[in-house]
């Protein structure tokens, strides 16, 4: 079951890389976060770790529901460009993504020997990190770049769950707090832009 969801996690991120519409990208991000939350719940149940179960629930509430909802409302409020064409052409992306996957598996190989549990998941987390960076790089618009940053955070979260069997509860809650702060700052930045545009008009 864990293997299935980790596959879905990676697949949703790869699909997000080919997405050309903003709302669809937000949906893929929400799905990616949902699989992450379910993974935390599954691994938490397996390890009998209550802290990870709480983290899983918080992940689903904040990342799979809250953040996509806020980003969607921001896009309506501030009139984001919803046609987001990646700068890297599809035919090149099709070659680049598997290359990144192979490269990161090769890169993570020495690390996976040192981690007792879920060692392959560590390699997937690292490849997700690279793919999230690619998502940030391949778009000129700011909204997909934000989604790329949030996906990168998801990848790190997956790494935390798999490589370390969960980070301390306080740290994970702190990371959630910072994520919410990031959303507040993003809102303020867009708000400012919007106000300036209105003033110019």
């Amino acid at each position: 079951m864990v293997d299935f969801f980790i596959g879905l996690f990676l697949a949703s991120l790869i699909t997000a890389l080919f997405t050309t519409r903003l709302y669809r990208l937000l949906n893929w991000y929400a799905f990616n976060s949902l699989t992450l939350g379910i993974l935390a719940l599954l691994i938490g149940t397996k390890l009998d770790d209550n802290a990870m179960l709480i983290t899983g629930v918080v992940t689903i509430i904040i990342k799979a529901i809250g953040i996509p909802y806020f980003l969607k409302s921001f896009s309506q409020k501030f009139h984001f460009v919803r046609q987001i064409q990646p700068e890297i052409k599809v035919q090149y992306a099709i070659m680049l993504i598997p290359a990144i996957l192979v490269f990161t598996f090769y890169l993570a190989e020495p690390i996976t020997h040192m981690i007792a549990n879920n060692s392959n998941y560590v390699a997937i987390s690292i490849s997700s990190l690279f793919l999230s960076l690619l998502l940030m790089m391949e778009h000129k618009n700011i909204a997909p770049k934000i989604v790329g940053f949030l996906s990168m955070e998801n990848s790190l979260f997956l790494l935390g769950i798999t490589a370390t069997d969960g980070m301390p509860m306080l740290v994970e809650l702190g990371i959630f707090f910072d994520l919410l702060m990031a959303i507040v700052v993003i809102n303020l930045l867009f708000n400012r832009e919007h106000e300036e545009e209105l003033n110019n008009d």
Partner: protein, 469 residues
């Protein structure tokens, strides 16, 4: 005690919602309250547990917190006259203070943290709050750079988290959840079963920190951001944010020294020399104050990292203190030097009249000459001690000649920077047209606080304290 440390920032945060004009003065004076708990921390026995094992005050972080607090006070004072030099709305002004308070809270947590996770959370909080401070300037460049900072800063901070997770994974088998604790990690560093995993984690953390400090290959991103934002933001970056980043580097590298000193030294040595090599030529080509001071800050941080890994703790900390006082002072003085957004270097030190004006150009001249390590600047002594530590390290290895060659190269690069600063100083003092410029009392007091801080660094008691760390 932690409540007292956070109190000034909380007062500033609360007062920033008050719409009265008079509130600005209160905001500046509230910042002075930080001195009471910080001085009290010096007197308390170390390590002093502020919040269980999460926040612990020791000799190193109390010193860094004290230096950062003085910078915070100086910046809060200089903020009083921000609207006299640049166009800023009252609403944006109040928001600036609000985010300044959040920034301060984040950094107090980062600096005093004894836990990798809390350290990261504090740093992330400070990074995010800075984004809005950059955006207070309503220019297109500031808007672009605010987003740039958000994205690149997020990547840097994510790299740090990535490295922390790997370090935590390497130490969890022996320490359990306490593997996040810096002191415990240091005590059990030699028992880590996967040193390779730790070293990868450390390398990634360091790269994240180096990106945040503007090291190779990201030398210009910070300079561009500081150019685009209002001058107090640059002062906060160089005086406080970089302090929090470097204290993290000190803590992580202390553990890495125990795991494999040779690997750590080679990695940081190559990275720092490469950074200084590039920065020296970038400084030579700069045409405005902000970029000049910002790139000089990158050079100082690289030297601090180099001295620290060479075992020159005293040199690194003295250099750090001098950098933390000099750079914010210079950044704050650009508010007057560039009067109303003119970036001209020529004649920037001319046109000052009266006691305030004379004192201003005298202090700025002193800071400019001190920043290039002219004696009796603390930087002169820190560099002497730092190069001495590098030679001492090389003596115990078989690479003495290589080290001497590296020091010679560093001296050549530093002389390029020296030449540029002297050229800039002469241009400021003897070239260009003379325009009347106004200096306000609050910014002069801020500069005097920094000057006193520099003098304080050279006091025998301070030097003894630094040698004891």
């Amino acid at each position: 005690m932690i409540e007292l440390l956070l109190l000034p920032a909380l007062i500033i945060f609360g007062l920033s919602f008050v719409k009265s004009k008079k509130v600005h003065k209160l905001l500046a004076f509230a910042s002075f309250l930080i001195l009471l708990p910080t001085i009290a921390l010096f007197e308390l026995p170390k390590p002093y547990h502020l919040l269980g094992d999460y926040l612990v005050a020791d000799t190193l972080n109390v010193y860094i917190l004290f230096v950062s607090s003085i910078v915070g006070i100086g910046v809060a004072l200089a903020l009083l006259t921000l609207n006299k030099h640049v166009r800023v709305s009252r609403k944006a002004y109040r928001r600036f203070y609000r985010f300044f308070a959040i920034f301060w809270i984040g950094l107090i947590f980062s600096i005093l943290s004894n836990n990798m996770g809390i350290y990261w959370i504090g740093l992330e909080l400070a990074t995010l709050s800075t984004v809005y401070m950059i955006k207070t300037n309503h220019s297109n460049a500031a808007h672009k750079e605010a987003w740039n900072y958000m994205i690149v800063g997020a990547i840097a901070i994510s790299l740090i988290l990535f490295g922390i997770i790997l370090i935590y994974a390497s130490a969890k088998p022996i320490l359990g959840e306490d593997a996040m604790n810096f002191n415990l990690l240091l005590a059990h560093a030699k028992e880590i079963k996967s040193p390779f995993l730790f070293e990868i984690g450390f390398a990634i953390v360091s790269v994240g920190m180096f990106v945040k400090m503007g090291f190779f290959p990201m030398n210009l991103w910070l300079a561009n951001i500081e150019r685009a934002s209002f001058y107090p933001v640059a002062a906060l970056f160089s005086g406080i944010l970089e302090s929090a980043v470097i204290v993290g580097f000190f803590r992580f590298s202390k553990i890495a020294m125990e795991v494999n000193y040779d690997h750590l030294f080679t990695f940081v040595f190559i990275y720092a020399i490469l950074t200084i090599f590039i920065v020296a030529f970038l400084i030579f080509r700069t045409k405005d104050f902000m970029r000049l001071f910002s790139l000089s800050g990158v050079e100082h941080m690289a030297l601090i990292a180099l001295f620290w890994v060479s075992g020159g703790t005293f040199a690194a900390l003295l250099h750090f203190g001098a950098h933390a006082f000099l750079k914010p002072a210079l950044f704050l003085s650009t508010g007057v030097l560039e009067s109303q957004g003119k970036y001209k270097i020529a004649g920037a030190l001319r046109g000052y009249t009266g006691k305030k004006g004379t004192l201003f150009w005298f202090l700025v001249s002193l800071f400019l000459l001190a920043v290039i390590s002219l004696p009796p600047s603390p930087m002169f002594f820190s560099e002497l001690y730092g190069f001495g530590a590098m030679i001492d390290t090389a003596k115990s290895s078989h690479h003495l000649l290589a080290m001497l060659g590296a020091i010679f190269l560093l001296l050549v690069l530093l002389s390029i920077i020296f030449y540029k600063f002297i050229d800039v100083y002469q241009s400021m003092k003897y070239e260009g047209k003379e325009y009347q410029k106004k200096v306000y009392a609050s910014e002069l007091i801020a500069l005097m606080i920094f000057a006193l801080g520099l003098v304080g660094l050279m006091l025998p008691s301070t030097l003894t304290y630094l040698k004891g760390i």
